[in-house]
């Protein structure tokens, strides 16, 4: 089953007029994996999803599902099923008939297909509403019907277009668990488009970060979170402070980088590093401590501009003079052990092993309105 539901995207480009919504993307999604595609509005993730589904066709390139070239196959015959963002439940049909629709289209008799539809509705715990109309349901219920409608076709790949965006916070977290459970139960490939970072790293086996039609990084959630490829990925996924400076010295043990505030930072060996070359690197926000004494290496100094209590940690924002805000996630006890208020100048420090080199050059903020 896993080989059959593997997706190979080869050099796929989608042009709208002159604008490449998807720009020469090559990507492999393993069969049976949960893949989340994430990025800001307009990055191409939805277009790519729709091309896998067959609702858009690539301007160039090839898409394979299993080992079958589906690039020119019409939607509905590729073994994919799409769950729409607004659910798109047929307003004129009951839940049963909504779910049974794909079977009706194939020519199954009314009795047989209604039977199967009811079984499916039972699986999503909606059998008691089987004869209702979609307008009578809540958002969460409509979503489950949409899911049932998609899964009844036994797809190899389930595609979800921002499935959780329309739900309130509580429901969203619950449905997240449901989706993960469903995916592992069914064993098929899920491709889930979202713009919510915690959702992506919670659900996915593979996170695909996109920007302006290009895949910036595709890797497991831990790697995306701890070892982002470029400043853009680091900023977009959150949890990282992006720093930039110039190479100060190179050696067998590592490379030293000097940031504009004069601080030196010890990085791993940067290949082909020349003194004076610009370097971007990141530090995870939860690996930083606040210290009383200013250090000379692997640290920074700034004025507290914002403090946010988040329950399990405290988010402290510092103005260090650079373009990006410098944010530290502190343990609750650590923070409240000393009085630190907005306006105080404080020092931060971290261990050198947490300096992560950012190889990629995409330096945008990930917020489309700031471009």
């Amino acid at each position: 089953m896993t080989e059959q539901s593997r997706i190979d995207i080869q050099n796929v480009t989608k042009l709208y007029g002159k604008v490449p919504a998807v720009n020469n993307v090559s990507l492999t999604i393993d069969g049976g994996a949960y893949c989340c595609m994430i990025g800001p509005s307009g990055c191409g993730k939805t277009t790519l999803l729709r091309m896998i589904a067959g609702h858009e066709s690539p301007t160039s390139g090839k898409i394979q599902i299993g080992n079958e070239d589906v690039t020119d196959k019409r939607t509905g015959s590729r073994g994919t099923a799409l769950m729409f963002q607004n659910y798109a439940l047929f307003p004129h049909l009951s839940l049963t008939d909504n779910v049974a629709f794909s079977l009706k289209v194939k020519g199954e008799t009314a009795q047989a297909r209604r039977e199967k539809a009811r079984t499916m509705l039972d699986r999503v715990q909606l059998l008691h509403l089987a004869d209702r109309m979609p307008s009578e349901l809540s958002g969460g219920q409509q979503q489950r019907v949409a899911l049932a409608r998609a899964l009844i076709t036994n797809p190899k790949v389930l595609l979800l277009d921002e499935p959780l965006s329309a739900l309130d916070e509580f429901l969203r977290l619950r449905m997240r668990v449901e989706l993960k459970r469903l995916q592992s139960e069914l064993g098929i490939t899920f491709v889930h488009v979202t713009h919510t970072q915690p959702e992506a790293i919670a659900l996915a086996d593979q996170v695909v970060v996109m920007d302006h039609g290009v895949v910036e990084q595709a890797a497991g959630p831990r790697e995306i979170y701890s070892k982002p490829y470029s400043p853009y990925v680091a900023r977009f996924m959150g949890g990282q402070n992006v720093l930039s400076g110039l190479v100060d010295g190179t050696g067998a043990g590592g490379t030293t980088v000097r940031t504009p505030d004069g601080m030196l930072h010890d990085l791993q060996v940067v290949p082909d590093a020349k003194v004076g070359a610009p370097v971007n690197f990141s530090v995870r926000r939860d690996h930083i401590r606040l210290v009383d004494e200013a250090g000379q290496r692997n640290g920074t100094r700034g004025k507290v501009v914002n403090v946010e209590y988040q329950g399990t940690y405290v988010k402290v924002a510092l103005d260090t003079g650079s373009r990006d805000e410098f944010i530290v996630y502190l343990d609750e006890d650590d923070f409240y052990s000393a009085t630190r208020a907005v306006g105080d100048m404080i020092n931060a420090a971290w261990e050198p092993r947490f300096n992560h080199l950012l190889v990629g050059t995409n330096n945008s903020t990930g917020n489309p309105h700031e471009e």
């Binding site: 589904a53 067959g54 609702h55 019409r74 939607t75 509905g76 015959s77 994919t80 099923a81 799409l82 729409f84 607004n86 798109a88 439940l89 047929f90 307003p91 004129h92 629709f101 794909s102 009706k104 289209v105 194939k106 209702r132 109309m133 307008s135 009578e136 349901l137 809540s138 409608r149 998609a150 076709t153």
Partner: protein, 279 residues
């Protein structure tokens, strides 16, 4: 809907309500009066007082030869109405679907449709009749007449389809295709059923506009008249309440058709909405 003031119904409300009521009376009053007068006694005239109540004038329509071929005209108007209804509904359904996207020629066709509404009917009737005759065709109620009627009903049908399709979510069709439906299945199982109330509205316009149409018909029906033409002839040379009688009869037909259309739409809406309280 936004309310102008939250306070209890003030003087503005009563004034406006009175105005509106007067307007409704203004709209319906005259029609109700001639319904009454169509039951005028056999010695009565075109106005009050009523000299007895009878169906004399209805009988007169049937029996007298003064009124032209009313039966035939009625039949022809009904047939034209049904034909216009069906053709308008089908053609405007597909045309409306086409207009969802820009295509070459969409502008001119749209302006032709609007033009047909704006230009005097008799002008178009002249054009159609001359065009047919220049080509050597005879004028017939079921050909040139039908064409003239369609030139009147189609623009209305198109505009209604625009309004209805504005609220139609294309993702329903996509979801159907995603489920494996072919184009005809999307149309038959999803698009048309969802649009059906709108189609009934188009059909209503298609029938009534054709059934009552007079200016365009005048020059294009050829030898045999439609009912509106007969009635308009009667206005100038009939001085008895028989005129009101035919008015009542034809209005009854219109009202029956309107009622059927409203009923059909109401039934469909009810079935689809069911419990409004939930959503």
């Amino acid at each position: 809907m936004a309310q102008i003031s939250n306070a209890k119904r003030g003087p503005a409300f009563y004034f406006l309500a009175a105005f509106f009521t007067l307007f409704v009376i203004f709209l319906y009053g005259p029609m109700l009066v001639i319904f009454l007068l169509s039951f005028q006694g056999s010695t009565g005239g075109l106005t009050f007082p009523m000299r007895g109540i009878s169906t004399h004038w209805f009988n007169d329509l049937w029996t007298s030869s003064r009124y032209g071929d009313l039966g035939g005209a009625f039949r022809r108007s009904l047939v034209l109405g049904c034909l216009s209804m069906l053709i308008t509904a089908i053609v405007c359904l597909f045309a409306g679907l086409a207009f969802r996207r820009r295509f070459w020629g969409s502008g001119p066709i749209f302006y032709l449709a609007i033009g047909s509404l704006v230009v005097p009917g008799i002008l178009l009737g002249l054009g159609i009749s001359q065009f047919f005759q220049l080509l050597g065709f005879k004028l017939n109620w079921w050909l040139s007449g039908l064409g003239a009627h369609l030139s009147w009903t189609m623009p209305f049908g198109l505009l209604i389809m625009f309004a209805v399709l504005n609220r139609f979510d294309a993702s329903w069709e996509e979801a159907a295709r995603d489920a494996g439906a072919r184009s005809w299945q999307v149309l038959a199982y999803v698009t048309v059923p969802i649009l059906f109330p709108g189609l009934i509205a188009v059909a209503l316009f298609g029938f009534t506009l054709s059934y009552d149409e007079m200016p365009r018909s005048l020059l294009t029906v050829g030898g045999k008249n439609t009912l509106p033409i007969e009635i308009s002839n009667m206005t100038t040379n009939v001085t008895t309440p028989a005129l009101y009688a035919i008015g009542t009869l034809t209005s009854v037909v219109s009202f029956v058709v309107i009622a059927l259309a409203f009923l059909a739409i109401a039934v469909i809406q009810k079935r689809r909405a069911r419990a409004r309280s939930g959503s």
